[in-house]
Amino acid sequence: MRSYLRPLTLVAALGLGLLAPLEPAAAEPSVILATTTSTQDTGLLDVLVPAFEKASGLQVKTIAVGTGAALAMGDRGDADVLLVHAPAAEEAYMAKGRGLERALVMHNAFIVVGPSNDPAHVRGSATAQAAFGAIARAQALFVSRGDDSGTNIKELALWKAAGADAAGPWYVKTGSGMADTLHVASQKGAYTLTDDGTFLSQRATLSLVPLVEDAKDLRNVYHVIVVKPVANRVSNQAGGEAFARFVTSADGQRIIAAYGHEKFGRPLFVPDAGKAE
C-alpha cells in the first residue's frame, strides 16, 4: 500500500517549484506609493501613475489606504512615497524625522452632504463648523469614515471646533473608504463629510446633495512625502523622489489640472505645486 507514496512525494517536491515562474526576478524593487482611498476612488491615480511609469520607466505599486495607515506604512519603511491629506498628522510625521521631503501637490474641497430634506437645517451654513454644531444639536444621523483617514481626521477636528460630542446612536462609523461611506450615508439618508472629487465621481449613484460648499474651513490639501528608508530594509528612495518630482512637475500638474474635465465636466483637483502653504 505504501508503495505509491514515494512517487507522490517526488511530485510534491516538484510542484513546490511551480510558484517560481510567476515572478520574474526584478533588478530593482518597485516603488511603493501609499496613498488615500479618495485619490484612487476619484480615478486620478489611474491617469497619474501610468504617466509617471511611462516617463520614468519605473514600476509603481499603489496601495490605497487611509492617510493614517499610509503614514504608518511610511513610518515602518513599508512604502517609498506617500500622497496624503492630513496636514497636522503629516507635520508630526516629518517632525519624527521619517520623511526626507514634503511638498504641496494639490487641493480640492471637502463638502458637507446630506439628504435633500435637510432635517438639521444646515443648508447654506457659512462654515462647516456651524453645520456640524447644528447636526449634533439635532442629533441627525451622521455617517463617519471612522478609519483614521485624512477625511476622518478632518471630520473629528470639525466636531472639536464645533464643541460637539460626536457619539450616540445618531453617529455611525463605517470603517470604509470614501465611496463606500457615501453609499452608506445615501442609503440611510444621513449627513457625511466628503471630498468633493469623490462625491462628484459617485454622484450619479447617490441620493445625497451638497449642503455646505466653499467654506473656508473645508479646504482639503494634499502633500507628497518622500519616505526616509529604514536601514537594512528593501526600499527605493530614488524611485520615491522621482515620483515626488513628477507629481510636482509641470507635466504632473497639468495632468492633475485636466483630470475630471472629460468625465465630470469640471476638474476635481486644483494643482498647487510651488505655491505657498
Binding site: 505509491y4 507522490l8 511530485v11 510558484l19 510567476l22 511603493i32 499603489t62 450619479a204 449613484t205 447617490l206
Partner: protein, 209 residues
C-alpha cells in the same frame, strides 16, 4: 477584464496545484501511514477548514512587509504572495476532502487486490483509478475557494492594476467607485470560471467512472 480574469485563474491554479501536492500525499499518509502524528495533522486540517482568509492574508502580508521577517525578498504585492496565501487557505480543504474520499472508497478494494495477488503495478493503477474522482473533486473545491477569496488577495496583492488585480478585488474596487455594472460583470466572469471548472471536473469523473 481579460487580464484580470487570466490572473485570477493563473494565481488560483498555481495555488491549488501547490496545495494539492502537499495535501494529497498528506491525505494518503493520514489514511495509510502508521505514525501517531496523523491524528494531529488531520485535526489541523479540520481546524484549517474554518481558517478565515483575512487571517491568512494578514499573516502572509505581515511576513512579507518590508518591515517583516521576510521583507528582504520583496515579494509583497506580487502574484506569488497571493498564491502563497491561497495555498495556505486551500491545503486543509483539499486534505480533508481527499481523506474522506480515500476512507470511503479505497479500503476494501486494496485488501481485495492484495488477497487476489494482483501485481503491484496493476494494483497501483486500479487504486489510482478508484480514488482519482475523489481527488479531482477535492482539487476543484480547493480551486473554488482560492478563486473566490477576496480578503487575502487584497492584503497580499494590494489590488494593483495590471499586476495583482484579480476578479474579487476588482469587484470590491468597482463597488467602491460606484461602478455597479462593472462589478456585476466581474462577478459574472467569476461564476463562468467556476462553471467551466465544475464542467471539467465532471467530465474527468465520468471518464474514470
Amino acid at each position: 477584464m481579460l487580464e484580470i480574469a487570466a490572473l485570477s485563474v493563473a494565481v488560483s491554479i498555481v495555488a491549488t496545484l501547490a496545495a494539492a501536492v502537499v495535501a494529497i500525499p498528506a491525505a494518503l499518509w493520514i489514511v495509510h501511514g502508521r505514525s501517531a502524528a496523523r491524528t494531529v495533522v488531520l485535526a489541523l486540517f479540520g481546524a484549517g477548514l474554518g481558517l478565515p482568509p483575512v487571517a491568512v492574508g494578514l499573516a502572509v502580508a505581515f511576513t512579507f512587509w518590508r518591515s517583516g521577517p521576510l521583507g528582504w525578498v520583496d515579494l509583497l504585492y506580487t502574484p506569488t504572495a497571493m498564491a502563497i496565501a491561497q495555498t495556505i487557505i486551500v491545503v486543509p480543504l483539499i486534505g480533508t476532502l481527499a481523506v474522506i474520499s480515500l476512507r470511503t472508497s479505497d479500503d476494501t478494494l486494496a485488501m481485495q487486490l492484495a488477497a487476489l495477488s494482483v501485481p503491484r503495478r496493476a494494483r497501483f493503477y486500479l487504486i489510482a483509478r478508484e480514488v482519482a474522482p475523489g481527488f479531482a473533486a477535492a482539487i476543484l473545491a480547493g480551486f473554488g475557494r482560492a478563486v473566490a477569496e477576496v480578503g487575502a488577495a487584497q492584503m497580499t496583492g494590494g489590488n494593483i492594476e495590471g499586476q495583482t488585480r484579480v476578479l474579487t478585488t476588482a469587484t470590491m474596487l468597482a463597488v467602491g467607485k460606484g461602478e455597479f455594472g462593472e462589478a456585476f460583470s466581474y462577478v459574472a466572469v467569476l461564476l463562468g470560471i467556476m462553471a467551466v471548472a465544475a464542467g471539467v471536473a465532471l467530465t474527468l469523473q465520468r471518464r474514470w467512472a
